[in-house]
């Protein structure tokens, strides 16, 4: 009898353990198909960066279209995607390292640069400027984000050394062109472009790297110089990008974890959550106009369309739309609205996989009204798919990128933490 309390306690513990195990097994069973689906989508998408790479120099095609040049931004997404592939065991450790190193060496030694900035498009074979493309500030930033992430992933290696070297040689103040906002680009024939990153957009990553630079930083005040227009669509209020394209709420977030960063009470992660929900609501509300739009088919973003590449978007903003849906718009929203994103991706896959899904995952876009299906994949669209799914699943990119000293430097200059509010 004197052992009764112990027995009761043991029974209670056993019952608790059984309940926990039952719950966990139930969860595991419930989430397993979703995990398998995300595994497949990420795995297939990552293979774009391996198969569409020139094995001689590591340059990655802008698009899977034959004859496509390489793009600096695609290389940035590729660098990150290859590390993700390695972390998930889909690419052998040594192979992944060598691929990353090859890309970085080519950008260090062969790709022409203007004060550290790279051209938007590069010839796949020679690594020289393709066509009359511009020296692009945002594409340089997207490349460097991938390079710095890879440097952090392979900390202490040659990859980190080259990534730091590429970052530290960029003369960011030059791209200000005497103003307090960054210019979009420069051409040898014309000088600086007429366009500036003067309003909320995907350029937050550009400003972050420019302000955080240990060698050639721009003043921290530049961060507050770009406009932050606010508008609402239905219940969703957001600082918006004029194009209304969903990628503008995603690209910076692919590397930067804004969840704990506050700027005068504004949290850009929450802002993207609202913008994503508004984009989805806009598609639901216009489902009568366009066949493809609906609760599981949204994510209006710049992508290929029946008439070529267009800056599609929703509200808030003056989004142009014609019924074209890019699956990457949904995949890139995974951290902001996981349930809606996963449901959307699964529905697109189950309903349209015959035309919409191929060797590199989801093709770029489709338009049911015009019975048009993209035949190609775009590197940056495949890239945002891989990175944002990974951030949703493990937070790997965020964790590594946020520990880079330059990023910490930018945060210390421009943000307050939630605790300090």
């Amino acid at each position: 009898m004197r052992y009764c309390p112990n027995i009761r306690r043991k029974l209670k513990i056993a019952a608790l353990v059984i309940c926990v195990l039952f719950f966990l097994s139930g969860e595991a069973l419930a989430s397993s198909p979703d995990e398998d689906f995300l595994d497949k989508l990420q795995h297939d998408s990552i293979s774009y960066f391996i198969r569409e790479m020139n094995p001689a120099n590591g340059l990655i095609k802008d698009s899977s279209r034959p004859g496509s040049p390489s793009s600096s931004a695609a290389a940035g997404f590729g660098l990150t995607a290859i590390c993700i592939g390695e972390s998930r065991g889909w690419i052998a450790k040594e192979e992944a390292y060598q691929l990353v190193l090859k890309i970085l060496k080519t950008f260090k030694d062969d790709v022409p640069n203007e004060r550290g900035f790279f051209y938007h498009f590069l010839d796949m074979r020679t690594a020289h400027r393709a066509w009359n493309s511009e020296v692009s500030s945002i594409d340089t930033a997207l490349f460097l984000a991938g390079a710095l992430f890879a440097g952090e992933y392979y900390k202490g290696s040659e990859v980190e050394t080259i990534a730091r070297e590429l970052y530290e040689r960029v003369e960011w103040p030059w791209m200000l062109n005497g103003k307090s906002i960054l210019c979009m680009g420069w051409k040898p024939e014309e000088g600086f472009l007429w366009y500036y990153w003067d309003s909320y957009s995907e350029a937050m990553i550009l400003y972050a790297l420019a302000i955080g630079s240990p060698t050639h930083p721009i003043p921290a005040e530049c961060w507050s110089e770009w406009k932050r227009p606010v508008d609402s669509y239905k219940d969703y209020r957001a600082i918006y990008c004029t194009t209304g394209s969903i990628f503008t709420y995603q690209y910076s977030h692919a590397w930067i974890d804004f969840r704990s960063l506050y700027e005068d009470g504004v949290n850009y992660f929450d802002n993207s959550v609202n913008a994503v929900k508004a984009n989805r609501q806009f598609c639901i509300d216009n489902s009568g106009l366009y066949k493809a739009y609906g609760e599981n088919s949204w994510g209006l973003s710049a992508c290929l369309g029946p008439e070529g590449y267009r800056g599609y978007g929703a509200k808030p903003g003056a989004g142009f739309n014609d019924g074209t849906i890019p699956p990457c718009g949904i995949a890139g929203s995974m951290p902001f609205d996981p349930i809606a994103s996963l449901n959307g991706l699964k529905q697109l896959y189950s309903e349209h996989k015959e035309f919409l899904y191929g060797q590199y995952g989801f093709k770029d876009a489709f338009n049911l009204d015009k019975e048009w299906w993209a035949e190609e994949y775009l590197g940056i669209d495949v890239g945002i798919t891989v990175l944002m799914i990974e951030n949703y699943r493990s937070g790997l990119v965020w964790k590594k990128f946020m520990s880079i000293p330059a990023v910490k430097n930018w945060i210390s200059k421009c943000f307050t933490s939630r605790n300090s509010l």
Binding site: D62, S63, R65, P66, G67, S68, P69, H120, F121, A130, W131, N132, S133, M184, L193, W194, Y195, T242, T243, A302, E307, G308, Y309, R310, G311
Partner: protein, 203 residues
């Protein structure tokens, strides 16, 4: 030896030697021409053909259009007339491709018969050139047989345009020396047996 004796009425004096010699030259030249032709074709024409192929031109136009589209989407300066312009450029490039294709066809058409004519000219030239060697050789052979038969009055004259002039001169000197020595021996000899041998030589 009269002037008429030097005139050659046919050029295949030593048929097997001259044909062998001429074929060797013609085949060597043909081989050089083919190798050069293939080299030029692979190195230059194939590059031109590839870069001006319908596929490549279409790819390039698509890239140009795509870059313009990207700029339009990024800078908000979309110009939908571009679509029309690029389609017209594609049509124009199709016309240019036809022109290039025609140019290549006419070059090939013109080159092939010319190559054949060139080989025939080389062959005929080979016969002409070779007979300048074969002629003296034939003449030397005939003279050598005559000397064997005791005729020391032969000569080794060759024509101005013939080869082997130095050889002819040496042979001429050799026969002259032999003729002088035989004459001398004839004058001092009184042996009937040697007389009989010497009688064979007509100096």
């Amino acid at each position: 030896m009269t002037h008429e004796m030097h005139r050659r009425t046919h050029y295949l004096i030593n048929r097997s030697f001259q044909l062998k010699y001429t074929f060797a030259i013609a085949l060597t030249i043909l081989a050089v021409m083919l190798i050069s032709g293939i080299g030029i074709y692979v190195g230059m024409w194939s590059s031109i053909i590839e870069n001006f192929s319908k596929f490549k031109v279409s790819e390039n136009l698509e890239t140009a259009k795509r870059i313009a589209d990207y700029e339009g989407a990024r800078y908000g300066k979309g110009d939908f007339r571009l679509e029309k312009i690029f389609r017209e450029a594609e049509l124009l490039s199709a016309k240019e491709q036809d022109t290039l294709h025609e140019a290549l066809k006419s070059v090939n058409k013109a080159l092939l018969p010319k190559m054949m004519v060139f080989v025939v000219i080389v062959f005929i030239g080979g016969i002409f050139v070779s007979h300048r060697i074969a002629g003296p050789m034939y003449h030397f052979e005939k003279s050598a047989r005559a000397i064997r038969d005791g005729n020391l009055s032969v000569n080794f004259n060759v024509r101005k345009t013939d080869e082997m002039k130095e050889t002819a001169l040496s042979l001429e000197e050799m026969v002259e020396s032999l003729r002088r020595d035989i004459d001398k021996i004839k004058k001092i000899n009184h042996d009937a047996q040697i007389d009989e041998i010497l009688s064979k030589y007509k100096t």
